[in-house]
Amino acid sequence: MVNNPLTKNIDMSRPPKDIAAYEAADGYQSIQEIAKGHAPDDVLQLVKDSGLKGRGGAGFPTGLKWSFVPQGENTPAQKYLVVNADEMEPGTFKDRLLMEGDPHLLLEGMIIAAYAIRASKAYIFLRGEYTVSEQALNIAIKEAYERGFLGKNILGTGFDLDIILHTSAGRYICGEETALLNALEGKRANPRAKPPFPQVSGLWGKPTIVNNVETICNLPGILTYGIEWYQSLTKGADHGTKLFGVSGKVKNPGCWELPLGTPIRDLIEGHAQGMQNGLELRAFLPGGGSTDFMSPEHLDLKLDYGEIAKAGSRLATGTMIILDDKTCPVGMIGNLMRFFSHESCGFCTPCRDGLPWVDEIFQGFENGFGNEKDLQILHEHVDYLGPGRTFCALAPGATAPLGSGLKLFKEDFERHIIEKRCPYKL
């Protein structure tokens, strides 16, 4: 049996498989199976039992999330599935691979998810810059309609599903699931207060599930090959495989599907083939720009949600950003702060007005104006912008590299102050 269910069809040197080729590789089997008479609740239970956790960053159990959708007579008939394909987290490049490489996998997963939560309409919220994904998905959606996997009364089940591809116009905050819903409704993409959660009142006030692309792409495998198979894939505590990526100055940057629980060292030194010549590994962000720095001492930890959390960071998107010893850590954090500051939606005070200050301070460091007072203000902002203080998780995300970086690169910050310049600049 396959051990790389997410990427088994992917070969980026050629266009993605068309529907026939996809079906030939066990594709859409899960739908055929469901059509034989599995109730939505059975599918939901299966996904619950599989232990699948969301791959969008928070790692929330997918089946559990689905179970919050109110079902039954007195609930709104219209429910929605929304796929979060707004990938814009700095250093994250995994959903692009899935959509460009094997769009039918995503569609198959969406049909499963929509069936389980009884949604007759599903939107893919795709970031506008992903033009190749857009083309691939458009072709695949057309094929799926023609083949009868989408549309009315799918395979005679009485289940209807329309999938609509929505392309956005570039705002990181749209990745936050409630901001995404506002964006889909054609409003400014400010996040919404939770509760009420989207499962209860989401898109146009109707029950809605938002899942990440990769999360959804896990579903066909689970339904086709079963829970036992799925759970056997892992090398750690969490189930299944996951896309892991490495960017930065390594010899072979890239993105690979690996079992959860794979040691970090395997990823960085194995798949990514270690650091470029003459460079040392200084630190890394394990799962995109909103995670805490980890250092070489963590290389033997497993890529598991729990284990990374124990080390004080988050697995999040699983795409690592490598910091080498010749790149200025202060500059790197400054780059991230500029990103978060620009991408703040402007709704809540700490994020909107706190991050630009942080950003300006980093610019000061870069240009030799940094001082102790600035450093103090940065430390304060780690707390001030932390979880629970802002309206959504954008600003707390920014505090992850900031807070950990201030600790880990204390000397670098001080050198900027003492030398009144960036010591990494020639």
């Binding site: 987290e89 700095p90 990181y172 054609g186 790197m332 991408e343």
Partner: protein, 170 residues
Amino acid sequence: MSKNVIASSAVRARKLSADEIAEIEHEMKLYPDKRAVGLEALKIVQKHQGWVSDESLLAIAKYLNIPIADLEGVATFFNLVYRHPVGKNVILFCNSVSCWIMGCDGLREHIKKEVGIDFGETSEDDEFTMIPVPCLGDCDRAPVMMVGSDLHRNLTSEKIDQIISRYRNK
């Protein structure tokens, strides 16, 4: 929607083209609420016109019957809606963390020197506008940038020169 008779901006709205209308109408079928089509319509018009002028903004608001102020709120929220004229080719230059590590700052300087534009600027010949864009999700092939809808990876100064001249001669 209400409008003030004298300041009635409606008079200044341009006429949407048949193509624009057809595409907007298509989008209308996909969403239960016409407001959701606002952003789509902005993008459609931008595709045809290059950017969204005041007259276009008014035309869309009028066509969809949504308040102009709300549409402007949406238009100015998103990075990829241009409310100012742009050059023929828009360079979306990734300056997020991986590209930064891989030296995108130097490339930005290079473009500044060669094309004469920095972020937010349009070249004198109206060929290029450069805009910074958050992580383009191709970090393993950083530095990257998009020109129009095409992605260019593993950039170097030489590669950028080639790309620029290719678009210039298009």
